[in-house]
Subunit: 183 residues, 2 copies
């Protein structure tokens, strides 16, 4: 499997269950979400806009990756106070070299389709491992984020993330995602 195949296998509609565990506070947060992942053609206006923002030729990419999610989240002590969590994001994978399994994933939350002022794209480093798990590593303002995504089967995708603050506090999250019919 290469990186493109990894994202193509990710395309579809998923039911996602999330738990975040705060390691020092010893509290947890739970969420459920519908997650839609789509591969956009290279001439998609949002994909083209993202390419322009990061300064690469849209003709050099194999497509954009669009994430849309809609769900709820609640904290351990107050499960009744569930809040809505909706959003969308577009990403582009740029390999370090044509056949490399490492590269950067550039993403922009809430890109404007009208081409108006959009948020600045961010980048994360990716590595597709021997075990076909995708690892994403980023450092933002002294906060380190590491994510691991892998397929248990074609219809079950698992994810872990760990976010570490400069203080050493860590938040570990786990997502199990099951492919929904009609995806």
């Amino acid at each position: 499997m290469d990186v493109r195949e990894f994202f193509e296998l990710s395309a579809g509609k998923w039911f996602s269950q999330k738990t975040s565990q705060h390691l020092t506070l010893k509290q947890s947060e739970h969420g459920k979400s519908d997650l839609i992942i789509e591969i956009l053609p290279t001439d998609n206006p949002q994909a083209v806009q993202l390419c322009q923002q990061i300064g690469i030729d849209p003709g050099s990419i194999w497509g954009g990756i669009k994430y849309t999610w809609k769900g709820t989240i609640s904290w351990d002590p107050q499960p009744q106070t569930a809040a809505n969590q909706n959003g969308e994001s577009i990403a582009i994978a740029v390999a370090d070299s044509p056949a490399a399994k490492t590269g950067k994933l550039f993403y922009a939350p809430k890109l404007s389709s009208a081409g108006a002022a959009a948020s600045t794209p961010r980048s994360v480093k990716y590595t597709l491992g021997e075990d076909e798990a995708l690892t994403l590593v980023t450092q933002q303002e002294n906060i380190s984020i590491e994510e691991r995504v892998w397929f248990e089967s074609n219809n079950v995708r698992l994810r872990t993330t760990i976010v570490t603050q400069p203080s050493g506090d860590s938040l570990a999250s786990f997502y199990s995602e099951i492919r929904m019919g009609g995806g």
Copy 2:
């Protein structure tokens, strides 16, 4: 890191948070537990008994691994019905060859220290990957279990397990474990 070093780094007292997500029922279960992992000397009576049960020379192992846990667990719809979950288990790692990073982990739940009738040991296959994560795979009566254990740092251990029934139903669990002082 070799397998022995992996278990030596695991030794100590951990605070463990667990979440199990049922992929088809879309329900989750949450638990908190104290987990103590000890390396037993090769002449420990329980380690010797386990070696005898599986037919290997106690002199050929580097030690036993004792797990003791004490915690509570509750299901998503009834968080108030927390049940106690206590137990202990002893394991021995037997490499496929002296320098191999693959082998079998034999374990016996609730071994009798008096040498009386003990439960039959079970075995799981282990692989210590390039990324220093330990993967454990087992198949019991058509149920497949896959576990992945890795260190985020010396004091943070993460684990995922996925249990798949012959029907295809899966239960995915995530544990974050933080080392406690005085461990």
